[in-house]
């Protein structure tokens, strides 16, 4: 609840939320000037786990930097590697077999569901309800097991290759994915019954933490945050890449601008991802997963390349400036959480601390991705 603030000079105090704090889900620090329970001013301090992924991208060859991309966002890692392989493929003109592209879409969407599931649990935990996290993790485990069987890792995947995939999916994966869809739909209904209708939950989110569309544009917020503020933007629809144009899915948009709208957007996105996976499994073409002709050494021609993908957190952009050598001249990552986070300072002014932290939870922060 944002209320009028009557500050007496010298009556405020500084509260350091973080770098180690349960609500920030990582090493994020927010310096808050507080007037009792009200936030007068907030200042986000970043950089506690800055690892210079961009510089590494310039000092390593293109394939070498591929594993780095999955270290950005440990919850939806496939989306980020997808962006990188698409950018390099576009730069060096590598053709991707259709089957590989379909499998990429299926796995990326599975990863998106896993990421949203974990967000759902962590968000309700931010609000003080611990139980939904356990339910969400149970479903997420199913996805992780599935992805582990085909990619070889559970969290930081390095599954995509320039031109295709590291490993083809087998019948077992397809069976498990098919079994997963009805199971997840049932779970979504269960979550709805358990959480969405709860009066305490609704009271804590309805009308709380408003982020206007102007504010989203000002800070470059994308993904579910922007879509919860009435901005109909999804890279998969607006700047189609991969084989997404062949799929039939909706982009959920809510105009309420509050934390509840962002919750609804993510919950509906899971359903839409399930639709994409379902169609992908039905349409999955036969064929190779790597192209016949592929350059041994990836050396994109001189130029400036950009590729945006829609990850679980928003629009992830990757810009590669190539000087024709095996290393990139400039390697720039536009991470969605960084932009989503930067509006927090302005949005939480005048709010009470518990509402501000609920707002922070609704932004779906993954700190390594902010700090890169």
């Amino acid at each position: 609840m944002s209320g009028p603030i009557h500050i007496q000079p010298g009556e405020t105090f500084i509260l350091n939320v973080g770098p180690q704090h349960p609500a920030t889900h990582g090493v994020l620090r927010v310096k808050m000037e507080m007037d009792g329970e009200y936030i007068v001013k907030a200042e986000t301090v970043l950089g506690y786990i800055h690892r210079m992924h961009e510089l590494m991208g310039e000092n390593r060859t293109y394939p070498q930097v591929l594993p780095n991309l999955s270290r950005l966002d440990y919850l939806g890692a496939l989306g980020y590697t997808h962006g990188h392989v698409l950018a390099v493929e576009r730069a060096s003109g590598i053709e991707v077999p259709e089957r590989a592209e379909y499998i990429r879409v299926i796995t990326v969407e599975l990863n998106r569901v896993a990421s949203h599931l974990f967000w759902f649990g962590a968000f309700v935990m931010d609000l003080g309800g611990f139980t939904p996290l356990m339910y969400a993790i149970e479903d997420r485990e199913y996805i992780l097991d599935m992805l582990e069987a085909v990619t070889g890792s559970r969290l930081t995947y390095c599954y995509y290759r320039f031109g295709g995939l590291y490993n083809d999916i087998d019948d077992e994966f397809i069976d498990r994915a098919r079994a997963f869809i009805p199971r997840m739909r049932k779970s979504l209904k269960k979550y709805d019954a358990l959480v969405t209708g709860n009066i305490i939950f609704r009271k804590r989110l309805e009308g709380i933490g408003p982020i206007s569309a102007e504010m989203c544009r000002k800070y470059g917020a994308t993904g579910p945050v922007a879509r919860g503020s009435g901005i109909n933007f999804d890279v998969r629809k607006n700047e189609p890449y991969s084989v997404y144009p062949e799929f039939d899915f909706d982009v959920p948009v809510y105009d309420e601008c509050d934390s509840l709208a962002r919750y609804y957007v993510r919950m509906e996105e899971m359903e839409q991802s399930l639709r994409i996976i379902e169609q992908g499994l039905d349409k999955l073409p036969e064929g190779p997963i790597m192209p016949k002709k592929k350059p041994k050494l990836i050396k994109p021609p001189v130029g400036d390349y950009y590729q945006a993908v829609e990850t679980a957190r928003g629009s992830f952009g990757i810009r590669i400036v190539s000087d024709g050598t095996k290393n990139a001249y400039r390697f720039k990552l536009r991470s969605p959480t960084y932009s989503n986070m930067s509006l927090f300072d302005e949005a939480c002014e005048g709010m009470m601390i518990m509402d501000a932290l609920a707002l922070m939870g609704s932004l779906d922060l993954v700190i390594p991705e902010i700090d890169r």
């Binding site: 509260l15 935990m125 309800g129 611990f130 139980t131 149970e138 009271k203 804590r204 518990m354």
Partner: protein, 328 residues
């Protein structure tokens, strides 16, 4: 003379043992219950069903070093955990578990329990203030405003019952409800049609008074780290923990005595201490169930609930019941 003193000492020792044992094993019950609700096993390694977990935890807490943060008010810091546990144990002294099992029967038992219960807020305030931690102070301010707001509807409800029954003696309160479920205070009668509402108010207030979820704002871990006991380790933390569970037992006992007929059987047969224990553990189970189901309220939502809903309703109940008592 010496026999009286001996009796008193034995009674107090039994009260402390009961409180401590309950506190220890309710932690176990809570964790097992949470495990059931969250589809995971909970503590199951130490001993059968994890029953040796509480002694292990106790041993760990007792052997740890008590760290006093620099700049903390040492006296207040040390006193606060004691103040959390002592009133809880004192309250056990007057609670009648059955007709004969009561440490010290008093004709103002209700008053005494509430007097000690309001000391609990003091311990939270001192802990938050004394530990010189911003989260602690914020939590202390929250918890105190919460405890004050919820004591009012609670006491108004108690006044309603005392007015109806005409006694503050816990034993007499139970005796007045003997003979089956239809005699319990919970069940509405001609002169007190609003008793279920009063029960509900009292139940909610008990949750809030014991700082239980969804009203656990004093230790809201997602915003205030650990609230008022952020700086406490070892047995200081242990005492807060035990005090919380002892308070839960007292809250459940009070609900049982005031509304659910104490040690009486629902059918009026074989009254005894087992009925009392059954009722309080069922209530405690419902507390655990609520805690692991609901998210936390906000501080203003909490205060609004008390001042705008519970207090007016309980006041109306008081006046309405007083009017009916005058008529009948």
């Amino acid at each position: 003379m010496s026999l009286t003193i001996l009796n008193a000492v034995i009674a107090v020792v039994i009260a402390i043992a009961f409180a401590a044992l309950n506190a220890a094993y309710l932690v176990w019950a809570e964790r097992r219950g949470a495990g059931r609700i969250q589809r995971r096993p909970g503590p199951n390694v130490n001993g059968p069903l994890g029953l040796l977990q509480p002694p292990a935890d106790g041993l760990k807490l007792m052997t740890k070093q008590l760290i006093i943060p620099g700049g903390a008010d040492k006296a207040l810091f040390m006193v606060a955990p004691v103040l959390a546990m002592a009133p809880a144990i004192m309250s056990f002294v007057t609670i009648p578990f059955s007709e004969n099992i009561v440490a010290r029967s008093m004709n103002i038992g209700v008053l005494m329990i509430f007097a000690f219960a309001s000391l609990g807020a003091m311990s939270i305030l001192l802990a938050g203030w004394g530990s010189r931690n911003k989260y602690g102070v914020m939590a202390a301010v929250r918890a105190v405003s919460q405890n004050i707001s919820y004591e009012i509807p609670m006491l108004i409800t108690v006044i309603t019952i005392v007015m109806m029954t005409g006694t503050m003696d816990l034993k007499e309160l139970v005796a007045g409800q003997s003979g089956g479920i239809w005699n319990w205070n919970l069940v509405p009668s001609l002169s007190s049609p609003l008793m279920p509402v009063a029960f509900l108010i009292f139940f909610i207030c008990t949750l809030a008074e014991t700082n239980r979820a969804p009203f656990d704002l004093g230790e809201a871990e997602s915003e205030l780290v650990a609230g008022f006991h952020t700086e406490y380790g070892s047995m200081g933390f242990g005492l807060f923990f035990m005090g919380e569970y002892a308070n839960i037992v007292i809250g459940a006992s009070l609900i049982t005595i005031l509304f659910l007929g104490g040690w009486g059987c629902p059918l009026g047969l074989f009254p005894g201490v087992w009925w009392f224990l059954l009722k309080i553990y069922l209530l405690i189970f419902s507390f655990i169930w609520i805690r692991w189901t609901f998210p936390r309220t906000t501080i203003y939502g909490l205060l609004n609930l008390s001042w705008k809903i519970l207090i007016p309703i309980s006041l109306f109940n008081l006046l309405f019941t007083a009017g009916l008592l005058k008529v009948f």
